[in-house]
Amino acid sequence: MLLIYCPYCEEERSELEFRGAGDAHIARPANIADITDEEFEEYFFLRQNPKGLIFERWRHIHGCGRFFNAARDTVSDRFYTTYKAGEPKPDISAILQSEQDKGAAK
């Protein structure tokens, strides 16, 4: 069972309580009525779908109900870290480095 740490409930819970909600850190243009169709398409539809590290929104829908953000690996499904909505992107290179160090130590 995949466990996900909810930063509001402050503990790991089963993935059954959660739902994914797409890419994180997508800023809605402040001048939404002025932008071109292409710019709107860029903002609204186009996503990178990277292989590896991705920043996503998740919702603890069957728990506290809160949206939060997660840094996840799309290949291994591993959650590197989760953090509250509105908080800045964490420094993932430090996390990846410590993962590597742990792996090398094994």
């Binding site: 069972m1 509001y8 409930c9 402050e10 503990e11 819970r13 089963s14 059954l16 309580e17 069957h62 728990g63 506290c64 109900g65 809160r66």
Partner: protein, 183 residues
């Protein structure tokens, strides 16, 4: 003069079940509110409701027949087993808040006995060991396909709140879990 037709409410859970290890009992009627409020409203709301709204995840507070369960950072389930007027109490606080009367949206099943945790874990992924989910702990979670609010009322007793329309499913799956708990 014609007799007046008066509708009578039929209890959603008319059967009783469980096993020796996990006894299932439909909980008596209670008043319930779904309460949403910001941190600044909490002291006055707590005073008006007569129970201190908890602010730590998975915790609850009780005062007599009245219980306040932390659901999320700004959300609580408050219920009163003596069916006291919770909407009126919240309104008297004079604070900015949202209170929705869900007294009849929810029903509850009391699961009690030495296998109560095993019966619930048949459909719920939460760790119910006493260190992680002690007496007084509460959480919205999942039971099979239904969302529930789980509240540990004693070492060997839980209150399982669910939506009225889900209750036959929840009661049925709990019955299966209770039967399994005795094996």
């Amino acid at each position: 003069m014609a007799d007046q037709a008066i509708a009578s409410r039929r209890a959603a859970l008319t059967s009783r079940g469980g096993s020796a290890e996990a006894i299932l009992t439909p909980a008596p009627a209670a008043t319930r509110i779904s309460l949403r409020a910001g941190a600044d409203a909490l002291p006055a709301l707590s005073a008006a409701l007569g129970v201190t709204l908890p602010t730590r995840p998975k915790t609850s507070a009780s005062s007599g027949q009245r219980h306040a369960l932390w659901i999320g950072p700004d959300e609580w389930l408050v219920f009163d087993e003596s069916e006291a007027d919770l909407m009126g109490a919240a309104a008297s606080s004079g604070t900015l808040h949202s209170a929705v009367d869900i007294s009849h949206r929810n029903v509850a099943v009391i699961v009690s006995g030495p296998g109560a945790d095993v019966a619930i874990n048949s459909g719920c992924p939460q760790d119910l060991s006493p260190a992680i989910f002690p007496v007084g702990a509460c959480s919205r979670t999942i039971f099979g396909k239904a969302e529930i609010i789980l509240f540990r009322t004693a070492e060997d007793q839980f209150r399982v709140e669910c939506w009225r329309s889900f209750s036959p499913f929840v009661f049925g799956l709990l019955s299966e879990g209770a039967a399994d708990a005795s094996h």
